[in-house]
């Protein structure tokens, strides 16, 4: 079981990651690589209970024809220093109009959670215990004023400046 953080709630879910080339196990929720999905798209859609995992250097554009039938796309941070998942999420939301769940997974750190949310990530598979602890304690280390618009989540225009926005959450950082 792994903890998923979504819409401010924590829930336990069980997902089995399917290795490339491996058989698809029955009766379980599975996450499959992009290549596996493309090779078995129809079988998977009939089967249900699956998500596609986009790991760099996968291109999200390859999923374009299937988006309506994909309830879950997971974007991978191979390490916290690898920011490709941010672009993957934004492209899915802003350019491909994907409406399903985008889930961050991998080695991201707490400070990347608010950034990922702005890029369109809607749920988080939490691997690091300190991230779970901080999120459960209500920490949300974010500057809630934004200087660049994104087309992923609703943000409130601030004043007359064309790109000044503030968070709908307006969750303050520690001292404000």
């Amino acid at each position: 079981m792994t903890t998923i953080f979504k819409d401010g709630m924590f829930q336990e879910e069980s997902w089995t990651r399917v290795e490339p080339e491996a058989d698809l196990p029955q009766n379980r929720h599975i996450l499959v690589p992009v290549a596996t999905f493309l090779a078995h798209a129809n079988a998977l859609k009939n089967r249900g209970n699956f998500g596609v995992e986009v790991a760099p250097p996968d291109k999200v554009e390859e999923l374009a024809a299937h988006l309506d039938e994909l309830p879950l796309i997971s974007v991978v941070f191979p390490s916290f220093a690898d920011g490709r998942a941010f672009s993957a999420a934004r492209i899915l939301r802003e350019q491909m109009a994907y409406k399903g769940d985008i889930r961050a997974t991998g080695s991201y750190i707490l400070d990347q959670v608010p950034l990922a949310r702005r890029c369109g990530v809607s749920s988080f598979e939490i691997v690091k215990p300190e991230v779970l602890k901080a999120l459960k304690a209500g920490e949300w280390p974010e500057v809630t004023k934004y200087l660049q618009p994104v087309g992923t989540v609703h943000e409130i225009p601030e004043g007359t400046r064309p790109w000044a926005r503030r968070s709908v959450r307006e969750l303050p950082v520690a001292a404000e």
């Binding site: 220093a81 920011g83 941010f86 901080a134 500057v143 790109w163 520690a174 404000e176």
Partner: protein
Amino acid sequence: MYRYDEFDHSFVTQRTEQFKDQVRRRLAGELSEDEFKPLRLMNGLYLQLHAYMLRVAIPYGTLNGRQMRKLAHIARTYDRGYGHFTTRQNIQFNWPKLEDTPAILEELAEVEMHAIQTSGNCIRNVTADHFAGAAADEIADPRPYAEILRQWSSLHPEFSFLPRKFKIAITGAPNDRAAVQVHDIGLQLTRNEAGEVGFEVFVGGGLGRTPMIGRKVRDFLPEEDLLAYSEAILRVYNRYGRRDNKYKARIKILVHETGLEELKADIEAEFEKIRHGVLRLPDEEVRRIEAYFAPPPLEVGSDLSADVEARRETDAAFAQFLAHNLNPHRVPGYTSVTLSMKPIGGIPGDASDDQMDVIADLAEQFGHDEIRISHEQNVILPHVKLSDLPVLFDKLVAAGIAEGNAGLITDIIACPGMDYCALATARSIPVAQRISERFGAAERQAEIGELKIKISGCINACGHHHVGHIGILGLEKKGEEFYQITLGGSANENASIGEIVGRGFSSEEVVDAVEKLVDTYMGLRTGKDETFLEAYRRVGDEPFKETLYGAA
């Protein structure tokens, strides 16, 4: 200059609080040093050889007296009484304590300053021509665009974990003083046939281990597309830039390995998808930002007075200062004055707390409260009345920042080198000091003319040696420092990467080697108006090789 509104104040205050919390988590052990590293770097905090180093942003090198006084205060209170101006027009403090850094950032926020994105694998401080808004040769002031880019890139959610750092420079004059062709993105302001302002765009320039001149991807990018096009470049880079080897992770390598035409097509395809979106620059917003940079009211003045001319005849140091440290101003009767942070035998770019206070006073008294930091590590007062020059000069002399050497052989760029830096393989500062002393005589420098020496203490090239007319790279072999010399580099509109002239020199030999090169140039130049770089480009490296290593 740009002034914060309530929104900006809140932004920087929140960022300071966020960093304070990151420091707390690090000190409490909730963040490992590995995890803290990218967070502190994104706020300009490095761990150096002996201590932490805090790099404070000076956006496009522009600041006022109040801000300079605050930097002096920080140097005095939290450091050892000095700061170091950098080649990104920033300032760094070499000895702050980790636990003091939140307090320093709070003090900076009081004067609308911060350390956001002065390091880390993100978009760094956008640099611009240090004579912006004043230079006679300017097409348009680059600072409003630099400010627009600064805002857009600040805490960008998508581009804060790029493959590697990302540097943008912009110049508004055809004579490029901002080195745009050795930046990840270089922007050259230009006008099209209809008279509209836009940009020539270069991508993939850079120094470091693999120096490259930027490749032109656009002859004319309309003003309104500045952000959308920049976002397209950054997205392509974030997705496809190499992450397997940090030394091959800059966008220049992506340009080189992908090929210019293919990469250009990728950028244009991405741009097509977003150009009509929310990033399109509204004209009124550009004009609103531009208004912050409106020139001060300057009454057209007269040329140098007879008094000043008379003093020039009798005062050699003053004459030297007038000859080298003034840049033509667009308003008659005014000039932009370079205050040299390169005293003979001194440390390039260092300024004491007292000097910073003096600069603040002089800017308020003589310079419409405007100060610039140049990427050549000097300080500029951009709007000075010609008739104020004698009294200004006397005050600069008293403060030790009146050397009339701007653009001359002792106006050396040097990185901090092994005296401070954990990456360095050799010292840079002592070599700069010895070269400065060797050529320090005023008449000799003036006779040699324009000659840019740039020194780096390792192959990361922070001292820009690749684009020095004479470049010096400090390396280490079997525990000994040695110095490799390159010739013919340049970072202006005719940018070029210097060529290695031959085997390196020991620390003892390197100054003699530079002197031989200079003497050779003096012997073969067609006249005083042929600079070292022009002569080198005319004759090639043979005469210089011969003087260093004997006939082949």
